[in-house]
């Protein structure tokens, strides 16, 4: 069983490494360094202006530590098929879970240590703590995280009977009590408290797990959600096949389709528009990029920078919409329907035009609000109009025709 976890972990780490390489590309690392540098500078400026004895300083520390204590979930790496194939091995699964907790421990404790490292100057300035005090608090935090993960492990079993223990509330409460003791009383007491709790949880679990069943369904669901969260994050940077978009009815957006008349030539506009609005993949992309663009443009001033940025975001969206054309290629009716391919392409061009125009308009409004300058507004509008026209009417059909030819 330990080997099983080892195998899975290796596979898992290989996969994560593959995606992390894609996420941390040069561009992103560069941006991240800048971002961290900026944050660090801001943090040190705040520290300089702090005087000891502020009433809210321990509250901030409490919030940060309690929230961070919840970070780092129990990574079991179990799969849906396990509840069929590993069911006969249920007792032996314990070793597997223990190995899984050890791995989760490593990641979670790294987070705790880094957080305390960052928080240390704050504690020392605002609370006048000594290095020893900070170190003791750090140990208490680590022991606390250990017991929280023990509770996660326990919840894999039905140790609390049929009724699931209100784990979530208990974990927060425990964290708040331990950390608050550390901040307002003394870290030494907090450490003792954390050690006692950790020991108690360990003994209690040791006495109970053997008589209990594994909560397969819940555990698989938790793990699936955890992985989905990770994949979603990667999906922001690259295509992840495991994240297939979900479909939402979004009835409140049905008014968008009223302009599309049920004509033969618009068969695919009918389909594309609904697919775009109700699918989360592409609509999410458009909305995300538009919102980011709007935020960015709101803070950017100048003659040419806003124009350039607006154009860049429109290009990014237009470019990434192209694969949507092939979205329905695996539905056989896309090929069987007696609709000329020209109509399909025209419908798609219309859709792209509509989306890009909307984005362009929104970005333009932000540029106008941020700059309040006739010239910038005029130039932006002109550039956007030309770009939308070129992207939708010239570039898109050309690219799709070329892709089509390559396939044939």
């Amino acid at each position: 069983m330990k080997d099983l976890f080892k195998n899975r972990l290796q596979r898992h780490l290989r996969e994560m490494a593959k995606y992390l390489r894609l996420v941390f590309n040069d561009f992103f690392v560069f941006a991240l360094l800048f971002f961290m540098g900026g944050l660090g500078l801001g943090y040190s400026n705040i520290l300089k202006s702090l005087k000891p004895g502020l009433w809210w300083a321990p509250v901030v520390a409490l919030l940060v530590l309690v929230i961070v204590a919840q970070i780092g979930r129990f990574a079991t790496l179990i799969e849906d098929a396990d509840r069929v194939f590993l069911l006969p091995k249920e007792r032996a699964m314990h070793d597997y879970f223990v190995a899984a907790r050890r791995y989760s421990q490593f990641l979670a404790q790294c987070t705790q240590v880094i957080t305390l490292f960052i928080l240390a100057p704050f504690l020392s300035v605002a609370l006048h703590w000594t290095v020893a005090q900070i170190l003791i608090l750090a140990v208490a935090q680590i022991v606390l995280k250990d017991s929280l993960l023990r509770l996660d492990l326990a919840s894999a079993y039905q140790v609390t009977g049929q009724r699931r223990m209100n784990q979530w509330g208990f974990k927060w409460l425990l964290a708040i009590i331990v950390i608050a003791t550390g901040l307002w009383v003394t870290p030494y007491v907090a450490l003792v408290l954390a050690l006692v709790v950790d020991g108690a949880v360990a003994v209690w679990f040791q006495q109970h797990w053997q008589k209990q069943q594994i909560r397969w369904r819940e555990q698989i669901k938790l793990e699936d959600n955890r992985m989905l969260g990770i994949y979603r994050f990667f999906n922001l940077f690259t295509e992840v096949p495991m994240v297939s978009g979900t479909i939402k009815r979004r009835r409140y957006l049905d008014w968008l389709f009223t302009g599309i008349k049920p004509k033969h030539s618009q068969t695919y506009l009918y389909l594309f528009s609904r697919g775009m609005v109700r699918g989360t993949d592409f609509s999410g992309l458009v909305v995300r990029l538009t919102v980011i663009g709007m935020l960015l443009l709101y803070f950017v001033r100048g003659q040419w920078l806003p124009v350039f940025l607006a154009a860049l975001f429109i290009y990014l969206i237009g470019f990434q919409l192209l694969p949507f054309f092939q979205q329905y290629d695996d539905v056989v009716f896309t090929h069987v329907y007696p609709v000329l391919p020209e109509f399909r392409l025209k419908s798609f061009v219309k859709l792209v035009t509509l989306i890009l125009s909307t984005t362009a308009l929104l970005l333009w409004v932000v540029v106008v609000i941020a700059n309040r300058q006739l010239e910038t507004a005029g130039i932006t509008l002109l550039v956007e109009a030309v770009e939308v026209w070129y992207l939708a009417r010239i570039y898109t059909p050309q690219r799709l025709a070329r892709a089509d030819k390559n396939k044939a």
Partner: protein, 244 residues
């Protein structure tokens, strides 16, 4: 002569699955395409609906090939796939509307037909459902409703009987019968041989990418007198010859 398949060699890759296949489907005729798994039934159907292009040979529908006028060719075809495929983002109502748009049907008239069909297949209260909420059988019914909404000259039905409840099978057979009377042709592939025997006018027996034999049941019986009475017996004996 509605559908004419002559000397078609074809398949998914350069290696042909179909080796020189010829058969036809006449107006108002229901032809059963019979064969084992992998005999080439689906490949044949994919060629007829234009998903695959034959390496050699010709497929024409009332004198039109897909190369001459794909629009006119496809306009005459309605297809019901074996595994139902639906647009995940469209409701049942929108699937019907999209079919009407694609086949350029008169919306008002088509909706009258649609409501009849929906009632028959007990889908009339599910117009606003998404495909994700349908069971497999229901999806299959949606496919049937969409296909019979059209005024197609040729219906191509890939294994319709598995997954449908007995009532729906019966309703489907009635629909087929009614369309046959108006002169439409049907090409149907199936494994359910006793149903095929009762309803098909003619059979095309495919084996290993070749047409082993074709004809009405009595013609088949005459050709293989020692095989037995039923389509099942005939088919089994035919494949046995090959195995020996």
């Amino acid at each position: 002569m509605a559908l004419e398949v002559s000397h078609v060699v074809g398949g998914y890759s350069q290696i042909p699955v179909l080796k020189d296949i010829s058969f036809d489907v006449k107006d108002g005729e229901l032809v059963g395409l019979i064969g084992l798994n992998g005999a080439g039934k689906s490949t044949t159907i994919n060629h007829v609906i234009g998903l695959l292009t034959p390496h050699k040979g010709k497929i024409s529908l009332n004198g039109v090939t897909i190369d001459q006028d794909s629009q006119a060719y496809k306009q005459q075809i309605a297809y019901i796939p074996e595994t139902p495929v639906l647009y995940q983002e469209l409701t049942l109502r929108e699937h019907l509307e999209m079919t009407m748009m694609a086949y350029d049907l008169d919306q008002e008239k088509a909706w009258v037909t649609a409501h009849d069909l929906l009632k028959t297949f007990r889908l009339d209260n599910k117009l606003d459902w998404f495909p994700a909420n349908f069971s497999k059988g229901m999806k299959q019914k949606v496919m049937i409703v969409c296909a019979f909404l059209t005024q197609a000259k040729l219906f191509i039905i890939d294994e319709p009987f598995l997954g449908l409840d007995p009532l729906a099978v019966n309703d489907l057979l009635n629909l087929i019968e009614a369309r046959k009377k108006t002169g439409a042709s049907i090409l149907m592939s199936t494994h359910v041989l006793d149903t095929a025997q009762r309803y098909c006018d003619r059979f095309v027996l495919l084996h290993d990418g070749q047409v082993k034999t074709e004809g009405t049941l009595s013609e088949l019986q005459a050709a293989l007198p020692e095989a037995g009475e039923s389509l099942n017996d005939i088919y089994l004996s035919m494949t046995k010859v090959d195995r020996a």
